[in-house]
Structures are given as C-alpha cells and as structure tokens.
Symmetry: D2
Subunit: 139 residues, 4 copies
C-alpha cells in the first residue's frame, strides 16, 4: 500500500469536535472520514452527489476504528484515504489520520460500503461505476 | 405564562455534548430543544411524524438562545417548552432549561417555525392542525 | 451470552440524528452507545463521573460497528449493553440495537477501553474498581 | 458595514450535517460559525488557543440565527464574519452565509461573547487583547 501518494484531506479540531478531556470525541472521526472519502471521490472525478443522481449510493455497512493517540483542540488533522478492496457489490476504504507536523499515527480506520439503488436495495454497481472505482484501488 | 404546568423533557449531558471546558457545547442545546418540542407534540397527541405524513412540516426559521449558566458533564437537564405565539402561518416556541435539583435558569431560548407543504413552500396550516396548536398556546 | 437480562437503554431518532436518506447517521450510534454504557454503569452503582472523581477514565481505544438495517426518524431505539471481556488494563463492551416492536437486529457494535489515570497514562485498575467490573462480566 | 472585505470561511455540507429534508440541520450552523470566527481570529494574528493560553476565553452568551433559505447536501457554504460591537467586557460577531455561486443570503446570525478568566469568571479584557479586537471592529 502506498499511503503517501493517496488523497489527503485536512481539517481542524474545533470546540464542537472535542470533549471534556480536550480531545476529539471518538465518534466525530467518522464525520471526518466521510468528508475525506467524499473529497477523494470528487478529486478523482466522481462527486458522491453525481453517484446519487445516477440512482446509487454507498451506505456504510461496517466501520472499525483504532484510536492510538488523541487529537487535541485546534490540531490540524490530515487524513489519508485508500480504496483497498472492491467487487461489484462492495468496497472497503482505509484511513490514516495524522496531526500536521507529527509523524505518529493517531487514528486508523476502515469503512465498508455496499452499492444500493434509490430504493435502498443492494445492487451490483453498473459497469461504468465499477470501472471508475477499479482505477482507484491500491493494494 | 405558566411554565410549571407545561411539558418537561429530561436529558443528560454526555461526553458527546460537552466541550473542552467540560460544559455543554452551545450548539448542542438546539438538538435538545428539538427533542423537547417533539415530545411535547407527541404528549399532546400529534407526533411530528404524523404532521409530516399529512404533508406538512415546521422548519425552524429563527432561533435565539441565551446562555446564563453552563450545564456540566453528567448534569441532568430539564427543559420546559411552551407554545407562546401562533397564527395560521407561523408559531413560536419558548424553552427554559434547568439542571435537576437547582432552581437557577441555565438557558432560555425561542424557536420560530413556519408551516410548509411537502414541496417546502410556506402554507397556511389546515384548520384541523391550526386548531390542534391553538389548544397548546399559553400566554 | 444472555442479552435479555442485560441493561436496556432507550432513545429516539431525531432530525439531528438522521441524514438525507432519512436514517440515523452511522457516526451517531457511537453517541448512543456512550449513553448506553454510561447508564449501565450508573445502574450498577458506579456512575462514570465517580470513576473520574477517583482519578480514572476509560477512553475508547477501538470501536467496531456493523449496520444491518437502518433506523429511521422517530424510531425508538433500544440498546442492550454487555461487558464481555475484562482484565486489569482493558475491557470490552458489546452492544445490540433494536427498534421497539421489531425483533430484527439493526446494529451491533463493540467498544474497547483502557484504564487511564488523570494524566491520561494507561494504568491497572485499582482492586476495588476491577472488582466492580468483574461482577458485570457476562460470557 | 462592509461585508465584502471581511473574512471568508468555506465549508461543505456533508451527510453528517444534513437532515431528512436533505438540508443542513439548523443547529449545525453554530458549529460552522465557530469555525468561521476561529479562522478569522487566526488570520488576524490571534489564534483562539493563544487567547486561552493567556488565561482568557470567550464563551458564547447569546446566539440568534435566521434561516432564510436552506443549504443542501454538498453545497459549498461561504461564511462572512464581522466583529460589530466591542467593549472591555463583551463583543458581538455577525455572520452571513451564502452558497458558492448564488448571491442570495441563506443564513444570518450573531453571537455575543464575554471575556472570562481561567476560572470562568467574567473579566475585563487586558489592554493588549482589547486593542487587538479594536482593530477588527467594522461598523
């Protein structure tokens, strides 16, 4: 896996994100990962909204997240996102989160998604969409 | 206004609700007020979801909130909700928030709502719905 | 494992919890699980805040969550919480989420926590605290 | 008031921000306004964190928000922030929110803050801090 060449999304920890320990609330990272994968798709030419307009969406069916080291208020978080698994029904994205200026891994996570149609039924991705994702897979 | 006889909604401050100062984040109260007015409507016999099923909704068009004293982690918050203004187009709800066991007012707020149809267009409330709300007005 | 005899926490899906698909946002469940484990501890006689006042906390070091079926706006969610693994350094909690009146499992999850002192350093739980948690373990 | 020359903060509406109507939840804007004022202070040379390190903070004591037109999923929101009132005890910030590419005002808001010391007591801002804010006032 080549994390360095992958998409980078940057955000900053706000009061709204942090808890009484002064660190980012563990559930908030999932919102940041949503933003990271959305921007990764946009940068590769397929905004998630366009996918929806074509009648498909990619709900999260599973998430795992390991918190190695906290992120504090006002820290600038950098999230790397990789598509690591793909078949016509499902895909898996992996995330690594760092704080700017510090090489230590803070959080790592993965989300699993399936393709569903506009009625919310699981479906096979159409060829064009599957092909788009094929190009993003890094192994 | 008779606050004591009005609807009471109780919730508790979680890590998810609080910020690095150990107090509830100012934006979170708006979620609590949503829960408070939803339960007030349900208790009076018109769940908000039924209103939606009849083709109407009541989006917030304005909110004002004054923070007198903080609410801390694990505090039990009690929210009183009153419908104080109503016409066929709009209504106003007022909220007072206390912490259980302490008579001092922590937060007071008001939300203004208009009636919209399922296309999101402002409309006059139908007679039956307007009548329902008329019974709730406390002045 | 005996889920039926375990702690039940009930909450309701609000507008604040749901996304444009009309279902609870996947990250929100983590806030509900926080509330569920907090109330489980309180019901067993050790409010989390007391643990903090004794100089200890239990940050989440890992979470996994599987979303089987969506929870919709105004659904009443019931969360069962079980302590399934414990040693003096760490513990694991498991959650099952249902919607009232429907036996189908909606979400299942686990959170892993370690004991840390007030400086945020991992520590062994003192005997009294470890003993308290021992009584809760269900296998 | 000259809004055009003021600070601009840009963000994008995520699933996490939006509700079943497909529009940004009314309480979420308060988080966006926090980010907007934080970046305004940083751009002018006083990160909020530095203010805290000097022993002061600026809690929100009041907020008012008017929602003129909804912001939808994936819309890019641009927030203008102005400091419009200041005395040694308090200040008022005003916000206007647009969607990129559309001149119509979506949301306007104001937040009122007081200076407090590290014990949370209201205090007069020290001369240097008051002077910094004086330079930002636009009337």
């Amino acid at each position: 896996m080549d994390w360095n060449q992958t998409h980078h999304y940057t955000t900053r920890a706000r009061y709204a994100d942090t808890d009484p320990m002064g660190v980012v609330y563990h559930g908030r990272y999932l919102e940041w990962f949503e933003a990271a994968r959305t921007e990764m798709l946009r940068d590769h030419g397929l905004p998630y909204k366009d996918l929806e307009n074509q009648g498909f969406s990619l709900p999260v069916i599973k998430v795992c997240c390991r918190y190695h080291k906290p992120v504090r208020y006002d820290d600038q978080a950098v999230i790397q996102t990789l598509l690591t698994e793909l078949n016509p029904l499902k895909l898996k994205l992996e995330y690594r989160l760092f704080v700017k200026g510090d090489p230590s891994l803070r959080v790592e996570a993965a989300t699993w998604h399936c393709f569903v149609n506009s009625q919310g039924r699981p479906v096979r991705a159409p060829k064009a969409i599957h092909h788009f994702f094929t190009q993003l897979v890094k192994t």
